[in-house]
Symmetry: C2
Subunit: 192 residues, 2 copies
């Protein structure tokens, strides 16, 4: 079974995956994008483009990564526990936040297609606030997405919440301001 | 307006584009995949993968190329004449010939999405025969796709013909065995 860790940057997804992995010694840790060689290559390719990529081209590249990740990591390990840092919820939500001209139904269709025809697994969703994002951004180095600013991250989060309402999988909502040990316990209970 | 030159390898698409370009001195010559920097990068990336790409991942990479080609080459030049060596007909037909688990309706939807929401332009379709393919393959160096063999190319051609039946654009059917000067005249008349 795959557990998708979703939420905008600074909400503590990676921290939690590292916290709980000791409780699940056989778990497979992965991420999107970047959990396959293709994902790593695509990241380099996107950063190396001189002309800006169209939003649709970028969408298809992320879908290619998702399809390959499904084929290479998710499907062959479906009988093990897989902890994935991001997945299709991020894929759909960032596309919406970037105001791509593709409707929500089509985005769901494209992502289902990349994931073998259906959505599977459980979702842990980390929710944050403007003030918590600001505090955490000051504490760490900023990557390209984080530099787009707090308003952008809050917009992505709103999209994630609306996308989650349409997904029929078990979802654990986490208040990202809680202390990390207490969050880890909630997640362990949800997974077991 | 874009004119898509479609047909399997060895049917003479590139030869014809080179023949007629003198009659249309302002025409923009392009191709799919490879008409953009992204296309060239994707080709290198695909060839450089150690693990085989899943058929869906490959489909999405070609769609990313098509979307970028549309945004960078087709749309900005829509008031000029664009001669494109391959396009969405090849995209859909090769996916079908490779027995990808995506139905024809979805393949059309994906390609329309990559092309700004609708199919535009005219299509020149080159049709060949088993014996003509064999003759021409003996005359030239084989690339990876051609090496898959004559039967494969004939299978792709059958898919192209079934796809063309569902496309509502002007189509010029060319018998690839005709002499090249006579074919060039037919194409010039169709484009003008």
């Amino acid at each position: 079974m795959v557990v998708w860790f979703e939420g905008v940057d600074t909400t503590g997804k990676s921290t939690q995956i590292n916290m709980i992995k000791n409780s699940f010694p056989n778990a497979i840790l992965t991420k999107e994008p970047g959990g396959t060689q293709l994902g790593v290559s695509l990241r380099e390719l996107i950063l190396g483009q001189k002309k800006p990529l169209s939003s649709k081209s970028e969408l298809f590249l992320f879908l290619a990564d998702r399809a390959q990740h499904y084929e290479e990591v998710i499907y062959p390990n479906k009988n093990s526990l897989i902890l994935s840092d991001r997945g299709f919820i991020s894929g759909i939500s960032y596309a919406l936040a970037n105001e791509i001209e593709v409707d929500l139904g089509t985005l769901f269709l494209l992502n289902r297609l990349a994931l073998g025809g259906s959505f599977e697994g459980k979702i842990v969703f980390f929710e944050t606030t403007t003030s918590l994002i600001k505090k955490r951004l000051q504490e760490k180095e900023l990557d390209a997405i984080e530099l787009r600013g707090v308003d952008y991250l809050m917009k992505v989060q709103e999209k994630m919440k609306s996308v989650l309402k349409r997904v029929e999988l078990p979802i654990l909502h986490i208040d990202a301001s809680r202390n990390i040990e207490s969050i880890a316990k909630s997640i362990e209970g949800f997974i077991k």
